[in-house]
Symmetry: C2
Subunit: 381 residues, 2 copies
């Protein structure tokens, strides 16, 4: 590191990221490049990483983790800043372009706060501060902007974070669609955790915090492309307090680092997230179709829409891969939180075949669940 | 602060911000709301601040400044975290929507890195890490994206910062204009500085690092709305190394805090930036028209375009308000840096009339220089 600051000990990811290098051959950007699936991986690993490569970006997790500290502090033999003088931070960003901007269960404002809070929380850090950058289309109604700001305020209060810096740009009518919001966030590590896509171990249990597909299905229905009357609502929510409770419970039961992987299965859905973990950890993840909660209305809507809930974005769910001895009591603890009421164990980590997600189906067979290919749902978040 | 972390001692700004509260009465967003001038101030203070209010956001500086540290550290009597365990950080964000995306002297990528680096540097912090969020229009040429990424890499290398986390969204053709980039950034304070719009003091000297209007004029010409053949190029550049040298020189000459205000006069130009400082510091800032450097070609182009260089955006210039005893040697030191070659003293801080920027004109008279009103140049950055 040239600037005197050292990253966290997650370097193990770097070599893995290097090994699964993609070549990027497309000549034009397509909607699939924003899908969260294979095309986006190719864009990120084959292009963004090629140009902007550095050890922190190379980890390709949903957040960067690094230490900052006083440079006048002693430097330890390991090259790390003296721990007494350094603070470990998580840092992340996401842009939100969801359409429609208001939908059952939330809006672009609640999404912009929750999504970034969740990316921080999934590293084990406590989210503290957010930035907000607004791109507004000329002619956008101020009443709508007020509603979005009120929603951001409520979500920030719920998550106990503060939006401390911001920016506004206005573009001519037709140069953007209503409103795009970028948020970035900073979180601080308060306890020793070691959460990474690369830490899934054979025997670990796979926990899901609740039902799949609510957000993506809600958005598709809200677009009104088909006349569906349902009660489905987006699950958009900040999950940092649930994560805090899980980390506390894990510490009480065993050690804080008994939670190995934590992810929010957003774009690309559970299937893509599990594939990323299986690849990074070089394990097989086996899930049971019958144990995966999906609301009946979501199942029905997905059938009509031609969607698979395994690939639909969630914005208020998390996936945890944990040591087997803490799995059951951890699920019990999660159920006490409003966002973990339907928590359950949906599978287990196996040794072989490496890099594969396998699902035992209701009929007793097993099928391979691949990463999302192509573009399923543009502008879902 | 509810989350156990305390902001920097810049609270003096809060009361001032409260006093100059704006009412926001517009019903629809117009281009003027993104101009950097009065309409944008009304939007930010009358709407964004009303909804998202917190002590850090209330300061309305170009960056938030706060301390992070271990919560298990002792808490001092002042309520601050024990200084041995805390680190003072600056945090900022900006979205970039400039059109055209390539222009003489730079492109949207160099701008996105430089602009955010500069917002951090102007607080006196050392920029360390950036995030980058891309919103791409379906059909955008990958060759153009590669050129932009190469430019971001070069600017990041020049500024010695790393882009450590990112995000990509793709929207349908027609829902955005080619590419929008949001960057946020984190910087760390390595020395005791106290830079704020509220610190200009009577007798202080006003220093400008170089000629005005290059960026904005270049963009207007690059749009090809008039057939002008000129050699004007944007000044887009990261200024953090220049700022570092200035802080070092100030420490050597007097004390690090002899630099009172530091700003990059971007949207709204020098006139708007000086007005913000005059209001925050409750002083009069007097500048001399004849001492303000403007290139002949820029002057000529501005006349044809109907622009006033005082209001045109700069992306590689800084304004410093400093104790009189360090002004001359500081300017001499600035001239040694490639981005400070034309540094000069352009004015002085007076007591009265408070909140006013006055300019002595070439004819010997004095005129009041107001903040930018209305929209001058949309999508300039």
């Amino acid at each position: 590191m040239t600037n005197g600051f050292t990253p966290s000990p997650l370097f193990e990811r770097v070599e893995r990221a290097r090994r699964r290098k993609h070549k990027f051959k497309d000549t034009h950007i397509t909607l699939a490049h924003g899908s969260g699936g294979k095309a986006m991986h190719e864009l990120v690993e084959g292009l963004f990483l090629e140009y902007l490569r550095n050890p922190l970006l190379e980890m390709l997790e949903d957040q960067a983790v690094f230490e900052v500290g006083k440079t006048n502090g002693a430097t330890s033999a390991s090259g790390n800043i003296d721990e007494r003088n350094s603070t470990r931070l998580a840092y992340t960003t996401d842009s939100y372009v969801v359409t429609p901007i208001f939908f059952p269960g939330g809006d672009i404002g609640r999404l912009a706060v929750s999504g970034t809070v969740n990316d921080l929380a999934m590293s084990g850090a406590r989210p503290l501060y957010l930035s907000a950058g607004f791109i507004l289309e000329e002619g956008f109604a101020v009443e709508d902007l007020k509603r979005i700001l009120a929603s951001m305020r409520a979500a920030a209060e719920e998550a106990n974070v503060q939006i401390v810096t911001g920016d506004t740009k206005v573009v001519q009518k037709g140069s953007a669609d209503k409103i795009f919001i970028n948020t970035s966030g900073i979180g601080v590590f308060e306890s020793l955790v070691h959460i990474s896509d690369a830490r899934a171990q054979v025997g670990d249990q796979v926990i899901l915090s609740g039902s799949l597909g609510d957000h993506g299905t809600t958005i598709m229905i809200a677009r009104g492309e088909l006349e569906l009357e349902t009660d489905i609502a987006s699950d958009t929510a900040p999950l940092n307090l649930l994560v805090r409770e899980m980390l506390d419970e894990a510490s009480r039961l065993a050690a804080g680092d008994a939670i190995h992987c934590l992810r929010d299965p957003t774009r690309g859905g559970l299937a893509t997230t599990l594939n990323e973990i299986a690849l990074s950890s070089e394990v097989c993840i086996q899930i049971d179709e019958e144990r995966i909660p999906v609301r009946e209305e979501v199942k029905g809507a997905c059938e009509i829409l031609g969607l698979d809930p395994l690939y639909v974005a969630n914005e208020g769910k998390l996936l945890a891969i944990v040591s087997p001895e803490i799995a059951e009591p951890l699920v019990a603890r999660m159920k006490e939180n409003v966002y973990g009421r339907e928590a359950c164990i949906i599978g287990e980590v196996k040794a072989e075949p490496q890099g594969i997600v396998a699902m035992r189906t209701g009929f007793g067979g097993t099928r391979i669940v691949d990463m999302l290919v192509g573009e399923q749902l543009p502008r879902i978040c």
